[in-house]
């Protein structure tokens, strides 16, 4: 082996080794994040955290009970916006539409998906806050719901399309009308994929902060009903993290751990279910 070949082989092994380093570093970031959250917030995830209200500025102690409930309410209401529009819209794309209208709807959904979350926030402000002159849970749910739409729409369409023709034809040959076929055969066949995609969409908007800044805004106390501003986990994390108080930092870590833990669990469960046979859509 001559010197040049030796050099080429050395370069080859070195560069390939470097790609391995890149992979380790990239994946390592995930564990770094988890590590910091666990280390800094692990001990603060306690009973107080889940049950107490936040204390006034400067006082230590308290918890994030209202933020947790607020986030739950927001997600529930957001699904009422995002899921039906995405689901039925997806049925339309997969089952009823012509290819031209389908491409328009898909293009709009892709466009909507690419809108930065802060822009969604000011849009939701002008539609759902300005006319009513106050912040509200519903406005926040509206903003989050909009962000869910593209995900649920595309997933529903793709999973419905993946149901083979002969399943539909079997039902129609028995005399079922088109909508009956869809409702009784196609959707049930695709429901696992659609449901897990909805879960992924929820996991995605559960962590969104920007759209809530001018819609749900925030609340240091309990928010009753749906038309009052409400606290939420992501917004609490933001406010507490940038504050100068050590105790609030501690609580921010805890909240981060809880939020990320929940999001990751949903992702792991949903993706594992989906990967058994069906391709997982990239976010």
């Amino acid at each position: 082996m001559n010197a040049r070949l030796r050099w080429r082989k050395f370069v080859s092994n070195f560069m390939l080794g470097m790609t391995g380093v890149c992979a380790v570093v990239s994946v390592g970031v995930l564990f770094l994040i988890l590590g910091y959250l666990l280390y800094n917030g692990g001990t603060s995830v306690n009973w107080d955290f889940f049950t107490k209200l936040p204390k006034p500025v400067g006082e230590s102690g308290g918890g994030m009970a209202n933020a947790i409930v607020g986030s739950a309410k927001l997600l529930l209401a957001a699904s009422l916006v995002g899921v039906p529009i995405g689901f039925f819209g997806g049925i339309y794309l997969a089952e009823f539409s012509g290819s031209f209208t389908a491409s328009i709807v898909r293009y709009a959904a892709d466009l909507l998906n690419g809108v930065p979350s802060i822009v969604v926030g000011i849009f939701a402000y002008s539609i759902a806050v300005l006319p009513f002159k106050h912040f509200s849970t519903l406005a926040g749910a509206f903003a989050l719901g909009i962000m869910m739409i593209p995900i649920t729409l595309r997933s529903t369409e793709e999973f419905l399309k993946s149901i083979p023709r002969n399943l539909r034809e079997g039902a129609m040959a028995l005399g079922a009308s088109k909508w009956k076929t869809i409702a009784s055969v196609v959707v049930p066949a695709a429901y696992r994929g659609i449901l897990t995609s909805i879960l992924l969409a929820l996991a995605r908007v559960a962590g969104e902060t920007a759209p809530l800044l001018f819609t749900a805004f925030g609340n240091s106390r309990w928010s009753s009903g749906w038309s009052q501003p409400t606290s939420s986990l992501p917004v609490m994390i933001y406010n507490y993290a940038v504050s100068p108080y050590e105790d609030w930092h501690r609580q921010a870590w805890a909240a981060g751990l809880v939020l990320l833990g929940l999001i990751l669990i949903i992702n792991i469960v949903a993706r594992t279910i989906l990967s058994r046979g069906i391709a997982v859509p990239r976010s």
Binding site: V11, M15, T19, V21, C22, A23, S26, V29, I33, Y36, P84, F87, F88, G89, Y92, E95, F96, S97, V105, R106, A108, A109, L111, L112, G114, V115, P116, S117, I118, V119, G121, I122, F123, Y125, S126, I146, R154, E158, K161, R165, S177, W179, A203, R204, A206, G207, T209, A210, F214, P234, Y238, A241, A252, G256, L259, I263, L264, N267, R282, S283
Partner: protein
């Protein structure tokens, strides 16, 4: 990404040659109308977003015109609003992010696509997908409470002592700033580069690599000189996607950029981005010109990401088509 099933004309699930009356009787026409309304809502919302951005920015658009984009002043008290510091900050932080994320991401994608056995490749990709699911505010939390102190105590001295004479590395550093934001953004966009690049690299036909090996290439030479160039359009697509993500990123950047509207050469200088200024000042904005200038910034940001996303999708489609043997480039 979506693949539409190619079917024979007339055999599409949506084509229905029955008469209108029979469709009505079976309830199918009603179902079609109902679902169509939901689908139309999607289009309606999208149109409304653009519409609201446009009309809510009317004042500054008329007052400042295109000068808005190049004015360096942001002075609410004097009713002077210019977008330049924010455009600058958005571009600089995204640029720094790409400079870090692109080599790391492509390197990792090469490892996953060319070197790692399928099980390891899939497992690592799973972790990368989880990384993409981490919300922005968590990155911000980490950024503010970990990266910012690290910048002050480790990174700034390491770069400023030897290279402080260069304008981009001039001190002082407060921990927050363009570089910090760029580092945090890099962590956020790496998963996008890896996921798409890996898919695109995997779609390169086997016999390209084998042809290179058959000519006596080393493994690295066949990967770097043949496989990667074959996939380069798709890889560029992934970079554009990552850039679009970085441009629109709000919380993480807001927490570490320093929130100072100024154009500065040094990477250690605090700055501002479009998303960050909207997040910080929108609820405090008094007066229509102020609020609407923030809306106009939202419009600018929207346009930037819109163009980039469109380009990205085009590039990715082109590459995966090429890999399947169609298309000549």
């Amino acid at each position: 990404m979506a693949t539409s099933t190619t079917t024979l004309k007339g055999a599409r699930p949506s084509s229905d040659s029955r008469s209108f009356l029979s469709r009505l009787a079976s309830g199918d026409e009603l179902a079609r109308l109902i679902t169509m309304i939901f689908a139309a809502t999607v289009v309606l919302i999208t149109v409304m977003v653009v519409w609201e951005l446009w009309i809510n920015s009317a004042l500054p658009r008329h007052k400042f015109g295109l000068r808005f984009l190049i004015t360096d002043v942001w002075d609410p008290l004097a009713d002077q609003f210019g977008a330049l510091p924010f455009i600058y900050g958005t571009l600089v932080t995204s640029g720094v992010a790409l400079l870090i994320a692109v080599p790391l991401g492509i390197g990792a994608a090469i490892f996953l696509a060319e070197l790692a056995p399928p099980r390891i490749s899939d497992t690592l990709q799973f972790f990368i997908d989880l990384l993409a699911a981490v919300p922005s505010v968590i990155y911000g939390l980490l950024g503010f409470l970990v990266v910012v102190p690290m910048m002050r105590s480790v990174i700034f001295p390491a770069l400023n002592k030897p290279l402080g004479f260069l304008p981009i590395f001039k001190g002082p550093s407060y921990g927050v700033g363009f570089l910090t934001a760029g580092i945090v953004l890099a962590m956020m966009v790496i998963p996008y580069i890896i996921s798409v690049s890996r898919e695109v690299l995997l779609s390169v036909p086997r016999d390209q690599r084998e042809a290179a090996l058959a000519l006596g290439s080393t493994r690295w030479e066949s990967t770097w000189k043949v496989v990667v160039p074959f996939a380069k359009t798709g890889i560029f697509g992934s970079i554009f996607l990552a850039l679009a993500r970085a441009l629109g990123e709000t919380m993480a950047v807001t927490m570490v950029i320093g929130n100072t509207p100024k154009v500065a050469a040094s990477l250690f200088s605090p700055g501002y981005s479009i998303a960050a200024v909207i997040a910080n000042e929108f609820t405090e904005a008094t007066g229509d010109l102020y609020t609407q200038s923030l809306f106009e910034l939202g419009l600018v940001l929207f346009l930037m990401t819109f163009i980039l996303n469109g380009l990205a999708r085009l590039l990715i489609i082109v590459t995966t088509q090429r890999g399947s043997g169609m298309g000549n480039l």
